[in-house]
Symmetry: D2
Subunit: 387 residues, 4 copies
């Protein structure tokens, strides 16, 4: 660089200026180049660590929650599953209480297993059981308490990274205890809003017109399971319903608007019939998947891994995903799709897998039983990134 | 009138012109002056007439349906419940079939009692049972068939008068038979869409984005009943939920949008706790109510009548309605409210009843048991109008 | 009919019931069968009658407006242009005042010629000049006053028939005088909202979120003319913009929503290049057209008439319309299209004209100059109906 | 920390996990703690640097644009005005051409001074002149060319940081030249859409239904100026219109929807009457302001600076802003408000300034003439951050 130009750049720097022409390619790449990488976390590793935290770390004011977040290897030092999504295993010991607070971030819980915890959302106690999705919309007060002598753990999903990057972060402490210790089978939100196609004529003051988030506090597994089963049965009878052949999927929605249950997070449950492989797709926006039941093979940008119950994987933007089901495979998925749709940034496309990739998936699929029998999880988590 | 003016009016007439100044008050009254009048039809009179029609009139091509419409006395010669709504008792004899057709008018069925009929909507067989609401959106093919040896009857509601006045009327004949004789317990519409807060990710081609009408073919009584019961229980526990004290109400909605199930018709179920009287209200738009269960007293513009199971009453625009429940009173209601809301014509207000009116309602309420024991229906149907 | 059936029908009648099967075809025809007929009113006949009314009939409280409505021959005795639309020539003599009032019906004025009248809408004085469209949304106070010594006349369009059939009619008298006698060139509505693509950050309390009607009180001819001219110029330069070849069209919209200026009425201006014939089309819903400038030939369900400046014609639902321009032809059009779109009743289609029809239009077009020279208006208005 | 806990944390790290309880306060602060700081860039410093770049750096393929971005001192090394907004001075020398490209990021140009450049957007040449706002919606092809022998510079605003954080970044090169060298006074977008309240009935294929961005390519200063002037005049006449006393403001909108002109960026023009001080406010979301004309005093979180024509300042989230006008003060503002509103993260509040702060603003205001006469820009840019 000649000295005149060097001088110019020094002066830019001194005046807090930066030229576009030297950075254009990084700022505006031809396609997304996310720092986040595809990655897999094994339940068999995650859960014992949560248990150890249960023994070592108290739950209380300040730290607020005993939640262990998956941290994308491409985002070192940050507790982010992807650049917009936060996902953690939260562990609550026998009779423990997570104190009341509220925040602008939107949150949900998805329960892989167990029962006995009630989350109290704006004063409404909501039972948590295997397969349930529970909502904590932004700025809703909430605390949890475990009524049993056994610990319980579940998946927490929040839009923490998005809210942080937008600096849209507010937080308030509530009481150290939950505000209602009762343990009803159904929350008030469900009793008012949990009837298919029916809405209260007197929508409460925080009703659907005003509320960007669903008033339905809990989506119970019995309904989700029935909806998925019905899609596959309809397909078998020759009717529409599934997303693609052998692939059922339901979205959790706001019954007052039909839109996503939370304004920044899409939540879905998928079920693949045994032997089915999904079309390979990629899209703007990122997602986190958790295997709820069954086992299968995932291909993330061509890297193939076996997955089974409880395993979590992060899919960064524009990463090609294909999933093959070994046996009936149920997957919970959450993503930032509403953000991309609302801001006009949504794009998606199906991707032809190369023959090699397809072979990999099929071979991995064929090998699945053997692999799982011998256990290869020690290396199997290295899905992505520079390794 | 002087002769110059008379000549002008003659010339207006000759050229198909009419002056505003002589008609302004009729065209633009200070408040609605509907021709339709409040009126009550007794089930005890209606149903036997439908039965007689069952014996005398065949169901078939051309007439299409054995439906007996309530005809508002204020709209002589017209089979209209109000100036926008059509309501009829449809009667289908043992093993009878109502042939397939479709029309631009929107329709629903609400079942007071009985079972055994399936309505086949766009090829999807939908069972009909007491308390169910079944939809036939505009331009959907539909026919009915009775699988049992007993007759069945139900309430049909359509927007025929509205569609007629708008000349928005299209009709096509389908096969003489229904297109699917199977008798599943749940329709395909329910299996896809009948799960609280859950929507199929693959909304079918006639899905929620496009479709102005709900894809949920049936709203089952077990859900409606549970939703109403929950509101009253929540109220008893000190929580929000009811429309007003002792008055639960749910609206049947499009699960993909949260809006009304049909674009021109609002459908609701109301439940009054025994002893409760609703606030007197009036609104633009008209409605038809049917007592589903229980008994009570209605006041329509101050005229008071006893009502019990199956009775139908029409409420014209701006007519003040108050309802008192003798015992637990369940009422189905449908109205043209979406039309008024979508066109910006909606208005409503609570009305202070005069002391005399209030006394009437209370006395009528007190006297209800006696009256019903002696039977006064011969005069009791004369609710309104010029008589 | 046998006597049992006759007895049944008598009993139906006695209980205010009507069977569907005897009326189905009238209630639910295969396609719209509007009572309203296509009809043409000549300005050369209309205007002199309005002038005579100006001499004979005072404007004042009660009658409120000296407006002469076109009365569709298919709707005898009713001052309705079609079954939903009201259209009239309003005539205000030198220095006359039409007193303040408001009504739930939506209204606009479209000015064929003249100037000097201000309409005062919710206290905002709005000048009226040739080519301008002025709005009086439902429930807005309004009166008019003529500042000049010459009379002025214009077209009034309202949704009176629709509001009457819906019984959505409220009316209130205001002061006998207009509330503001000032005569600004631009109304306050225009000054706030009449800048392309710009909206006030402080939308007034009756602003766009709440208001179903446009806050832009006046759409000035200079803008409408420029927009139409631009479309034809763009077409000539090889770009998109026109509705079809040689046919420019703009819609008057609510700048805060982009939707129709009034919730029940669509208002548009069309310009046909000399020599152009529009595609024949029909649609649900009805419309009224007024020739603003130029001359041409119209075909309404195959009946062909010459039209020139000021002529008004009514197009009932599902009537096929084609228009040929003799010289540059400007047409104002208003319709009930928003009603049909909002209620899910909108349908439209292009129609192949028969050879005979096409020939008729072309011949009529060729003959236009001759006909107009000799004057055939005496018979030319008989477009439709039973004649 | 005891060794068991240390071991747990090591194992977390090894498995790409991070605990919430040690980071909760950073992730979820009680109120926004943006890294970006309030900062002021002086036009008198910025523009000469852009000129020097004009002499030293060619415009061409790869770098694409000679744009010098303001780089928030709180976001070191990043060319970001705030964490979501990118703002730069783009400089185009005599007869220079910036080559055609497109990207998913949304962009606009706002012209402080000069003329002679046409930006060609999707083939539509759009003249750029002082005070104009020009749009380049996401994925629209665009290049610029300078037709004159004088250089021209303007403000570029984009959502680059937002798109980068969301990884919603696509980019394509077009021709090295602009696609149309013609220099019309008005773009085709303006000719079709630039008429107040009027929209083409034939909205082009990329029309308002589909398009999330405004089809109006240019908002001309003559309209913006007239709209602002009208608001202040209306206020002076006693009517509504201004945002607050002496403070006029207009928003640039999509004429087909009434929403923001771009889906991620809000663009507004503000005018303060001489002597007026705005209410102090803060809000989630950030903004960049440029003084278009006049001079005044700004207070950003209580730090007070003089500003005059061309000066740019960045307002991070939840920073309290108050502005006092020395003489008539015109300010262009852009922000990420649509993002916050669409995602449910929008909050704002008025802030009581402390007496000291208020005094500071007033004193600064009083001192303004003196300061500006003596020139204090060397230090005056240090608005914010840790200094």
């Amino acid at each position: 660089m000649d000295s005149a130009l060097a001088g110019l750049y020094r002066d830019f720097d001194r005046h807090h200026l930066l030229p576009l022409w030297t950075q254009r390619e990084d700022l505006m790449p031809h396609a997304p180049r996310p720092a986040a990488v595809p990655h897999l976390w094994r339940w068999s590793e995650l859960y014992p660590l949560a248990e150890r935290a249960g023994a070592l770390v108290p739950v209380g004011r300040g730290g607020e929650r005993r939640a262990v977040a998956i941290a994308n290897p491409g985002l070192p030092g940050l507790p982010y599953a992807t650049s917009t999504l936060w996902a953690a295993v939260q562990y609550l010991g026998p009779k423990e209480v997570a104190p009341d607070h509220r925040h602008s971030q939107n949150a949900f819980r998805f329960v892989l297993e167990g029962e006995g915890v009630w989350t109290v959302v704006n004063g409404d106690p909501v039972a948590m059981r295997r397969g349930d999705l529970l909502l904590t919309p932004g700025w809703a007060w909430h605390g949890h308490h475990n009524t049993l002598d056994a610990p319980m753990a579940w998946l927490d999903g929040l839009d923490i990274p998005l809210a942080s990057q937008l600096d849209a972060t507010f937080f308030e402490f509530g009481p150290d205890e939950v505000t209602d210790r009762s343990t009803p089978r159904h929350s008030r939100g469900e009793r008012l809003w949990g009837h298919p196609g029916l809405v209260p004529v007197a929508a409460p003051a925080d009703g659907p017109e005003a509320a960007p988030s669903s008033p339905l506090a809990a989506y119970r597994w019995e309904h989700t399971d029935a909806a998925l089963r019905a899609q596959l049965e309809l397909e078998a009878e020759g009717h529409d319903g599934t997303l693609e052949h052998g692939h059922a999927a339901v979205r959790f929605t706001h019954p007052g608007t039909g839109g996503d249950a939370l304004p920044t997070l899409r939540t879905e449950m998928h079920r693949l019939r045994a032997g089915v492989t999904t079309t390979a797709r990629r899209e703007t926006g990122s997602s986190v998947w958790q295997v709820f039941d069954g086992s299968g093979t995932i291909s993330l940008d061509g890297r193939v891994r076996q997955v089974s119950r409880g395993d979590l994987f992060a899919v960064p933007p524009w990463c090609t995903v294909a999933i093959a089901a070994h046996d009936t495979l149920d997957l919970f998925r959450f993503s930032d799709a509403p953000v991309f749709e609302r801001l006009g940034f949504a794009r998606s496309e199906t991707v032809e897998m190369t023959e090699a990739e397809a072979t990999d998936v099929v071979e991995a699929f064929d090998a699945a039983e053997a692999i799982e029998a011998t256990g290869t999880s020690g290396t199997a988590d290295a899905v992505g990134g520079a390794r």
